[in-house]
Subunit: 144 residues, 2 copies
C-alpha cells in the first residue's frame, strides 16, 4: 500500500506528534529506536519531511526534530504520503494503465475508484494529532 519509507515517515511523525504534546523534540536515534526503524534510512526520510516543512530540524547539541504544537492539528496523513510516495496512491490505475479515467476506464476503474476515494478521504481527515491521541486513549503501538 505505502512504501516502507512512507510507513517509517508516518510512524516517525506520530512519534514526534506525541513528543510535541509534551513540548519535546526528539533526536534521530531516539526516533529510530521508538519506531524500530533503520537509523540512517530514517534520517533520509526525516530530512525529506523537514525540507517540505512538515517537521522542523535543529542541528547541534539539544538539536533534533520537532513538530510545532500549533501545527499538530493541521498535518494530515495525506501530506506525509504525498511528500514521500507522491500522488500515485490517489491517481494510479488499479490495473496499472497510464490513462484510466471515467471516460476511458479500465474494467475495474469504478470499483477501484470507490475504494481509493475512501482511502483519500481517510488520509485527509486524519491528522498526526489524531494518531497521537490514539496512542493515549488506548494502548497502541509504533513498533513490533
Amino acid at each position: 500500500m505505502f512504501s516502507k519509507a512512507c510507513e517509517y515517515g508516518i510512524r516517525a511523525s506520530v512519534y514526534l506528534a506525541r513528543q510535541a504534546e509534551k513540548g519535546d523534540r526528539a533526536s534521530l536515534t531516539e526516533i529510530a529506536k521508538a519506531i524500530d526503524s533503520p537509523v540512517a534510512f530514517t534520517a533520509k526520510i526525516l530530512q525529506l519531511l523537514a525540507r517540505h516543512e512538515i517537521i522542523i530540524s535543529y542541528k547541534g547539541p539539544t538539536g533534533g526534530y520537532e513538530i510545532p504544537k500549533e501545527h499538530l492539528s493541521g498535518i494530515q496523513l495525506s501530506h506525509i504520503v504525498k511528500v514521500i510516495d507522491g500522488d500515485k496512491v490517489y491517481r494510479g490505475c488499479g490495473l496499472g494503465l497510464k490513462e484510466c479515467n471515467a471516460s476511458k476506464p479500465c474494467p475495474l476503474h469504478f470499483q477501484f475508484k470507490a475504494i481509493r476515494d475512501e482511502l483519500k478521504e481517510m488520509l485527509q481527515s486524519t491528522t498526526v494529532q489524531d494518531l497521537a491521541n490514539e496512542l493515549h486513549r488506548r494502548p497502541a503501538f509504533l513498533k513490533r
Copy 2:
C-alpha cells in the same frame, strides 16, 4: 497497491475471460500485445497462474492459454491477487508493523482496516467474468 506482476496477471486474465466467451484461447504473444505488457515477464506470470490452475496452458501449435468457460464466474480477483502478491494486501499493517491487530493495534489500525475490508470484499465479489462483461457493456480498456 498491487505489484506490476499482479496488474499484468489481472489484465491477462480478463483478456482470457473475454476470449473464453468466444470459445477462444490466446497465445502468449497475443496476450502481451493485447494488454501491452513485456512478453517474457508476462510468460512468467501466466505460468504461475497456470500452475495454480487459474488458467490452463497448452503446448504446441494451436496451443496457448485458456480459461474454461464454466470457470469464468468462479474466478475471483482475490484468487489472482493471492497467487501473485500473496495475502499481504489483506493482512499487512498500514504502518508496516509485524504485529498489528485489534488487541495490539497501530494508531491507524481501525481506520485502515475499514478500507482494507472493503478492498477485500470488492476483490472477492468481482470475477473475471464481471470484468469481461464490463469490456462489452461500455468501452473499457486493457492497455494504454
